[in-house]
């Protein structure tokens, strides 16, 4: 890990800790939720441990510490008998995933709520899926700390039962056909198939397919509105399951075949890691090479567990530095890959190493390509079967193909050193004879190699995409470059038309400095015009658009922006304030930024705090606080 001035902030006093926590709260919402779950579990385990022998559903607990956990468990058992599907529905309803009602194991433990309120016992129905259940253990944390009651209540919701008319079991080939409709796919398309509603306040229709996949469709009762159509591997929709965003796709927008292929690869990878069970490991070591020396660190039991857990969760790939730091501070880029060696009880040996962002298990290489934003290509998990060991691969670039830098990795071996590269970074372009173009990420250069002679075409190239910009049927290079002029360093978009040997710079703006107003960047072919007011989240900042060559000029065309936001406050007219609007925070932004939105955009909706909105707009006005959207074309209520 890089040593910085910030290392001096260790062992800080309370006052500075407070200031540091304010400057940068280390826990975001999900971390806070995770911590709370952990604490709740810890508290529950303590109570279970201390009060195991005596449990009653009513009457006072003679101990000073609360017995709510036991009551909750007992009541949960009752609930289980009353109807598993109902509990599943509740869990689904409590989902914290980005899809408004998609299930999440993260919230499963919250399916039981604790309250000091004494509730009236009403009715318990386990037959219908149109009920939602509140499980309440009464606990008194005052002086007596005695538990007095635990009540199971079932509250009728307005939701009507879903009418099951289908008689056929959905099969994967049929789903693949249906998915071709894309966004036009509706509930009506699925009416012939057998399903089960496992939702709480909304419909969550579960279609289990014999091929071992589950389709969960979230829909609003009484309407045709579909929130999501997510495809999962395995039989999903029960309680206590793990759902990670990588494990599902919305079939309306994602590719089913890519998903199945990714899932298969992911499973094969997980099987390999799972085969190294900590209890079967006799001995393990971490081997690395630094400054000409080989080092071996023997791992203790805790370190073995931590390392294997991290590998299973891909943490080593993305938080490599953290985990490695657990052992020793390492150079960020070893010229030889660091290697974990596990010697198993049965005498076999497993080796895991990391080559840049690839994982190698017993000589087989894998790469996990993650989706960072909606504009990024989809998440994929690839088994790197192409291992060229030093041969020079050149991608024959087709006219319309986009070159995503993150994709299609390839391994090279030079002597004992192994490194990975995006194989599409070496391309040939039609009708340009004997020339290979190469974007070299590490050197930030675009180079051309002709007849064995290499020339650097552009320096300081931060990224480079390839597409046909001027419709001449030849691929062009689109780059974000770092440019220094008159002592000021800025970013600029440059298009290089290799076939005609012409260069275009995006005019207007483009200079970046602390005092400049905006700059352009390109990311997966989408161009961003980013104002310097960097307090605004990037995705909603400035304007997104596309570039095109018109005549001799490279021009930027602004496009509409879409951003998700959550209502944090509903402000109505009062004596003091004459306002009628919402305060919002952007879905992917930071909490301290507030946006104002007039209520007139959501007439007819019962918008309250926590409601999620989708706003289409032209730009953002940051001249006042809270900020405003300019040129709103639509506001859609997506959940809440």
């Amino acid at each position: 890990m890089k040593r910085t001035e910030l290392d001096r902030l260790e062992n800080i006093d309370d006052e500075l800790a407070e200031k540091l926590a304010q400057l940068c709260p280390p826990l975001d919402a999900s971390a806070e939720e995770k911590l709370l779950r952990r604490v709740k579990k810890g508290l529950a385990d303590e109570v279970e441990f201390e009060y195991e022998p005596e449990v009653t559903v009513s009457g006072a607990d003679p101990y000073q510490k609360p017995g709510w956990r036991r009551f909750a468990s007992t009541a949960a058992a009752v609930l289980l008998i009353a109807g598993l599907c109902v509990a599943g529905g509740l869990i689904m309803r409590k989902s914290s995933r980005s899809s408004p009602e998609a299930p999440s194991a993260a919230s499963a433990s919250d399916g039981t709520s604790y309250s000091t309120n004494r509730l009236t016992d009403t009715e318990a129905s386990g037959t219908s899926a149109d009920t939602s259940v509140t499980l309440t253990g009464t606990a008194d944390a005052t002086e007596t700390k005695a538990v007095t009651n635990a009540v199971l209540t079932t509250v009728k919701k307005e939701k009507q039962p879903f009418e099951h008319k289908g008689t056929r079991v959905l099969r994967m080939n049929e789903l693949t056909e249906l998915a071709k409709k894309g966004e036009a796919l509706t509930l009506a398309d699925l009416k012939d198939y057998v399903c089960q509603d496992i939702g709480g306040s909304i419909y969550v229709l579960k279609y289990y397919m014999p091929e071992g996949y589950t389709l969960l469709v979230g829909s609003e009762p009484g309407t045709d509105k579909v929130y999501y159509m997510n495809l999962y591997r395995g039989n999903k929709g029960g309680s206590g399951e793990n759902y990670s965003p990588e494990e599902s796709i919305d079939i309306r927008t994602g590719s089913i075949s890519d998903f199945i292929s990714t899932v298969n690869k992911l499973n094969a990878f997980k099987d390999k890691i799972n085969a190294i069970a900590p209890e079967n490991v006799a001995k393990a070591s971490y081997n690395y090479y630094s400054e000409g020396e080989n080092y071996v660190i023997e791992l203790d039991r805790g370190q073995i567990n931590t390392a294997l857990t991290a590998m299973k969760e891909f943490k080593l790939l993305y938080e490599k530095e953290n985990v490695q730091e657990m052992l020793e501070t390492l150079e960020k880029y070893n010229s030889k890959p660091a290697k974990w060696i596990f010697e198993m009880n049965d005498g076999t040996r497993k080796e895991i190493s990391f080559v840049e962002d690839c994982i190698c298990i017993d000589g087989e290489y894998w790469v996990f390509e993650k989706k960072y934003s909606d504009n990024s290509p989809v998440t994929r998990f690839n088994n790197l079967t192409t291992d060229l060991y030093g041969s020079s691969y050149v991608h024959e670039f087709s006219d319309q193909e986009k070159c995503y830098l993150l994709f299609d990795k390839i391994l090279f071996k030079e002597g004992e050193y192994i490194y990975s590269e995006n194989y599409k970074s070496r391309v040939k372009i039609k009708d340009i004879e004997n020339t290979i173009f190469e974007y070299c990420f590490s050197d930030e250069t675009l180079r051309a190699e002709k007849n064995g002679i290499e020339t650097t075409l552009f320096d300081d190239v931060l990224n480079c995409y390839i597409l046909n910009m001027n419709n001449d049927n030849h691929a062009d290079f689109c780059m974000t470059r770092r440019v220094t002029e008159n002592g000021i360093t800025g970013l600029r978009i440059t298009v290089y038309d290799a076939y005609n040997n012409k260069t275009y710079d995006l005019s207007g703006g483009g200079e970046y400095d602390y005092w400049c107003s905006y700059f352009y960047t390109i990311d997966n072919i989408v161009v961003f015009e980013e104002p310097h007011d960097s307090a605004v989240p990037f995705e909603s900042n400035g304007t997104m658009g596309s570039i095109a060559i018109n005549g001799d000029k490279l021009e930027f065309t602004k496009e509409e922006q879409v951003v998700g936001a959550e209502v944090t406050e509903v402000r109505r007219d009062s004596l003091l304030i004459t306002t009628n609007d919402y305060l919002l925070k952007l879905a992917y932004g930071r909490e301290y930024i507030s946006f104002e939105l007039p209520m007139s955009y959501t007439e007819g909706y019962n918008v309250k705090e926590g409601t999620s909105l989708l706003i289409r707009f032209a730009s953002i006005d940051t001249s006042s606080y809270p900020y405003h959207f300019n040129g709103i074309t639509s506001v859609t209520v997506i959940a809440g």
Binding site: A21, L27, L43, S115, E319, V323, E328, Y588
Partner: protein, 187 residues
């Protein structure tokens, strides 16, 4: 004396108390623990320590005198104590790690401590002067050692931009500290 915060927690179950405490003091306690275990513990160790603190607080807050006064100060003290215990446990058997500075508050080191705190204050001041989001990205990247991808998700930028901001902010921090008379060599 029962203060207002304690009174507000009265009657709540331990999980509810834990939720209220984490919501209010989660970041504060985490920061204290992190600053002590950063050099020796994994993120798992740190999370475990923080959760132990809140388990203890949520369980004992109604019954222990320790929590009857200023709740924040009590949590701060508890956090420090717990973190020191963890540090000792984590450092045991690892001779390479330096001795814990839990005696930093002893009388012998008053001068050193004052100097250390002054530098820390200056560093924090300089970080603050960077303004958001650079200050946040800088701390998340180089202090909390988060990956660029995770920071990107949190601050709503692409990871490439996070990297850019982080490097730029680090450069500026060096300049700001130098302007305050703290040179890199002093650190």
């Amino acid at each position: 004396m029962i203060n207002k915060e304690n009174a507000a927690l009265e009657g709540k179950s331990p999980p509810e108390t834990a939720a209220a405490l984490i919501s209010e003091y989660g970041n504060y306690v985490y920061t204290i623990v992190f600053s002590r275990l950063r050099s020796c513990g994994t993120s798992e160790d740190i999370e475990e320590c923080v959760s132990d603190i809140f388990i203890e607080a949520a369980r004992d807050i109604g019954s222990s005198e320790f929590f009857s006064g200023d709740l924040k100060a009590a949590l701060g003290t508890l956090a420090k104590r717990r973190a020191i215990n963890y540090y000792k446990r984590l450092s045991a058997g690892n001779s390479k790690r330096t001795a814990l500075t839990d005696d930093m508050d002893s009388g012998e080191n008053i001068l050193l401590n004052a100097e250390r705190r002054d530098i820390q204050r200056q560093i924090l001041g300089a970080v603050e002067a960077l303004g958001k989001p650079d200050s946040e990205i800088l701390l998340l990247k180089y202090y909390y050692c988060m990956s660029a991808g995770d920071i990107a998700k949190r601050v709503g930028m692409s990871s490439r931009n996070v990297q850019k901001h982080a490097e730029r902010a680090l450069g500026r921090l060096g300049e700001l500290l130098e302007a305050r008379g703290i040179r890199r060599n002093d650190l």
